[in-house]
């Protein structure tokens, strides 16, 4: 090493490079040091000059900005779940409908934003009665901060829009491969503007009837509001559509149609997990409840881990294969289930909930298959069924130590939430069962009306030949994947007079 260095130094060029670099680095380091010393002297000097300085901002004035920042960071994370959904759905879909899957998620997002600005937020978070809100249409007459949260009104709106968007995207998962693009736009309007906001109002809205029961129904981050609603609507969509052409069910000697890209699906799943760190911890709406956000984040992680491992083991026990699809669905099931109870349970409780969710998810997939419902990505089992389980789990596993998060810190003034297993009796469990049953039942009816209405208007499903040749090529002008040379080699712009006969 040293020998090589000395040898190198004998050559003129090497010598020159060595000194140039060394010299340059020395000058740079000296400059940075000088700057640091100078700044320290300057700041120190100023502080010395003004001996008693009154702080410009009182600590209390920082609460709202910090909470707002926390909610915005969480909103950005929840928004990024769209990327996860797109990848998960595209990966489990076939190549011929990949563009369609991507387009549906993107356009759903854009439409949901406009609809949630116009009416969705008003129905969900406006003052009104126990069933529906009617304030803040088009975000008019908005106060600076929302309610008692101390969070900037529009930051709160953004966070809630990201949630609404998640619900509407979940629905498309079970309808992949046969829903027409127009049909998707129509049902998305129904979901984003009407069904999701109204159900949400009952649980999260001011004066919502489920939130004001004697023992309030508790859904911390949306196992019911987002996931049960999305999953049940997905079920109604899949039932109204019927299976994809050529899909044979297990009891008829068939099975799932194979997804086309497990790499994309797996990474999409992990991006969803990542986004959940906005979904659950962000739902405190308060960074001041520091123990709360820490607990929620840890519980979210542990439930996902347990769901992942239990799903993996359960499938290995069955098929002697380390199944990637169920491993991904397993941790998603754990995440969906922990979404409602994440604030009120212990880490051990989170692990038990996540583990059970994975088993319930696999059994639900079996049941849906048995009923001959074609759900290409398992949205009904993961979001619908595990959402119901997570909601009920609040009534079983809540430890009784925690109340609600408040703008300035954890708040137990309105009582704590205690589940059956922690000596809380059946009060909370009954509330959870009532809420979950009512939401599931009414959303099921609303979904069937919406989906069968679109079906009757012949807007829901693509014609047979389009489905067989691929929605991408017919509705979106081309496939996601081209054989590059064959495509560009013979494709000529139609305007150049080439034959357009098809």
């Amino acid at each position: 090493m040293i020998k090589r260095f000395i040898g190198g130094m004998k050559e003129r060029d090497s010598r020159r490079y060595f000194f140039t670099y060394l010299g340059g680095k020395m000058i740079g380091t000296t400059a940075v040091l000088a700057l640091m010393l100078g700044l320290a002297w300057y700041v120190g000097g100023r502080a010395g000059a003004q001996e008693v300085e009154t702080p410009l901002t009182a600590a209390a004035d920082l609460i709202n900005p910090i909470n707002t920042m926390w909610v915005l960071v969480a909103a950005f994370l929840v928004f990024f779940m769209q990327a996860g959904f797109m990848m998960l759905e595209a990966g489990f879909a076939r190549t011929r409908e990949t563009v369609n899957v991507l387009m549906e998620c993107i356009v759903d997002t854009a439409m949901c934003g406009i609809l949630f600005w116009a009416v969705g937020f008003a129905f969900m978070f406006g003052e009104g009665n126990g069933w529906i809100g009617h304030q803040f249409f088009f975000l008019s007459d908005a106060p600076a901060t929302y309610g008692t949260t101390g969070v900037a009104f529009l930051a709160f709106w953004l966070f809630q829009f990201a949630f609404a968007d998640t619900a509407s995207t979940i629905v498309s998962g079970a309808m992949v491969g046969r829903t027409s693009f127009k049909g998707d736009l129509f049902y998305s309007i129904g979901v984003s503007a009407i069904i999701y906001p109204i159900v949400g109002h009952w649980i999260w809205g001011p004066g919502g009837w489920l939130a004001t029961m004697d023992t309030p129904f508790r859904d911390f981050a949306g196992s019911t509001v987002v996931h049960t609603v999305g999953g049940v609507l997905a079920l109604t969509g899949a039932v109204a559509l019927g299976p994809r052409i050529g899909r044979k069910f297990k009891r008829d000697g068939g099975g799932f149609m194979v997804g086309h890209d497990m790499t994309i699906a797996a990474i999409g799943g992990i991006i969803l997990w990542f986004g959940w760190y906005g979904f659950n911890p962000g739902s405190t709406l308060s960074a001041m409840d520091l123990e709360g956000i820490g607990r929620v984040a840890a519980n979210t992680t542990l439930a996902a881990c347990a769901g992942c491992l239990v799903g993996l083991a359960f499938m290995y026990f069955r098929t002697k294969k380390w199944d990637p699809g169920i491993t991904i669905n397993g941790f998603l099931a754990g995440l969906v289930a922990i979404t409602a109870p994440c604030y009120w349970v212990s880490p051990l409780g989170a692990i038990i909930i996540g583990g059970f969710a994975a088993i319930i998810c696999v059994l639900a997939i079996d049941a849906i298959e048995w009923f001959r419902v074609d759900d290409p990505i398992g949205a009904v089992a993961v979001h619908g069924v595990c959402g119901i389980f997570g909601t009920i789990a609040v009534g079983l596993f809540a430890t009784g130590d925690f109340g609600i998060p408040g703008a300035t810190g954890a708040d137990i003034s309105t009582g704590t939430v205690t589940g059956l297993f922690y000596g809380g009796g059946t009060d909370q469990l009954v509330s959870q069962l009532i809420g979950s049953a009512v939401v599931t039942g009414l959303v099921l009816i609303a979904g069937l009306v919406l989906m069968y209405g679109l079906k009757a208007a012949k807007q829901l499903r693509v014609p047979t030949d389009i489905e067989l040749e691929g929605i991408d090529i017919h509705e979106h002008g081309g496939s996601a994947y081209h054989p590059e040379f064959a495509f560009t080699g013979t494709g000529v712009p139609a305007s150049s007079g080439a034959s357009k006969e098809a």
Binding site: G246, E469, G478, S499, A502
Partner: protein, 113 residues
């Protein structure tokens, strides 16, 4: 005498054809996803608003080697299972095979099918 039967099919008809051939006792076939055109012509695609007449459509090519006596049956099966009656159903052609060897055992001729 051995024959090579090659068929071009609509992609979504491949499963039906494969199952029908298996029922006939065909023990193996080779599949390629191909692109091409025939009398059906191309299809207009769009990319960022520009229209393209892509003169190729995705098709499935299957190849199977059968004994001369089975050729008629194979053609009949492929035709029956692969037909939609619409333009673009594809073609079948048959060539003679000079030699056939199973690599594992060095068997030749009909034994190697």
């Amino acid at each position: 005498m051995l024959k090579l039967v090659t068929a071009i099919l609509k992609p979504h008809k491949f499963d039906d054809v494969k199952e029908a051939l298996k029922k006939d006792g065909i023990t193996g076939l080779t599949v390629t996803e191909v692109k091409g055109f025939g009398r059906q012509g191309g299809k207009t695609e769009t990319f960022r608003g520009s229209e393209y007449t892509v003169e190729l459509l995705p098709k499935i090519k299957i190849e199977l080697i059968v004994d001369e006596a089975q050729v008629a049956k194979a053609i009949e099966t492929i035709t029956a299972a692969g037909q939609t009656g619409k333009i673009g159903d594809g073609k079948i052609w048959v060539l003679g095979v000079d030699e056939l060897v199973r690599i594992r055992t060095s068997e030749t001729g009909v034994e190697a099918i």
